[in-house]
Amino acid sequence: MTKGDVAAAVEAANARAVERMLAADPVLVDVAVAGDAIAGLGDRTILHAGPPIEWPDMCGPLKGAVAGAIVLEGWAADLDEAAELAAAGGVAFHPNHHFDAVGPMTGTITRSMPVMVVENRSFGNRAYCTLNEGLGKVMRFGGNDAEVLARLRWLAETFGPAFGAALREAGGTPLKAMIARGLSMGDEMHQRNVGCTSLLLRAIAPVLARAVDDRERLAGLFEFIGGNDQFFLNVAMAMGKAIMDPVRGIEGSSVVTAMSRNGTTFGIRVSGLGDRWFTAPVEMPRGLYFPGFSEDDANPDIGDSTIVETIGLGGFAMAASPAVAGFVGAGTAAEALNYTRAMEEITVARNPEWTIPALDFAGVPTGIDIRKVVASGRTPTINTGIAHREAGIGQVGAGIVRAPMACFERALEAFAAAMGVA
């Protein structure tokens, strides 16, 4: 092929990739038990955020979450015994992404946990994400004490079954239009989800009310959703995974299909390169810290939540969310516009259905092209929560982090080889 032929082939493949992204029809259809819903998720298996990692290389919060998950499943009597079991190779670790799943921060999923199920009705695939536990001491930030495990049991035994039944009764909740409305309400779907959480609660409340007889129990369900502005984040993440999975494996496409971090390494996957991970050490978020905490307390970047940026939301939609710009330390509302404009330089298209009022209703930047990232020197902007580096303390701030350029350079080397031009 001539140079012009190669370029044309990549452009055509990338157009197909974005076509599939835009054709997606994600619907929140159920809450199911992970071991039943996720094929291959067996006993003594722990799924985690990010690319593959083993126990010795895990950061503090991930080790904390793993130990907590082991106790939750009854594979060890206490946290010390759990850590010993993990260190001795008594459990298998796999990335969520290898099981059609994603999870925020530590992202741990084991078989008894409830997971939200999003179906992409255009392509027939399903993706899974845990339920958001709320703020404070939670497993996604490495929390693992009795309070954390008790909440997880309540989610599995009470909240999950009721919410799942309501979703099934409703025939699912379509998400694409909900995201469009959320963007116009100031959500960017990573660090701000108050609009979409409210819209989801409004949509599901009547069905839940009819499905649950006990008024106190019903009130508890409403309180849990209404008391957590980030409840929708996990829905958006499962939606992102459901949108991106059909984009995998398009020959000649340089579009990124996943970005993810395990607290130690950052990994990306590229459509034309199958399911290979291209990794580099994670970076430290820059942001604002809650009172009493500083960067010295922070864990490096962690979580599968970057699937939200992969579909053009989060840091890519910063212009939609002036409140987030302030929360993550991105500056003024006017400066927030520049974050979104900069992401237009590294993407293939704009999403005409997800638009941003402050940019005269321009669509969110969609389809990250590794060639454009390397050429421009601009890496994806990610809005993120910041975890304490020690297990069990929780969130200490929020900020912005960049995907490491080395991931994209390594992927570009492999992509050029795959295209026969290295």
Partner: protein, 61 residues
Amino acid sequence: MEDRKDPIQDLLDGPVAVINIGLAQFARTLEGQGVAAVQVDWCPPAGGDRRMIDLLDKLGA
């Protein structure tokens, strides 16, 4: 022989407005002296990495 003014001198006779590409310090220094300056957000392709530039060229980017 026609008496032509030095174009650089001509430029500096009036108010100067500067567009700076490259080191931002140049723009900041001018701003410090009350000169209007706009810094262009630009960096060399692929940060000047020859290997990456070569691959990008072959891939039509």
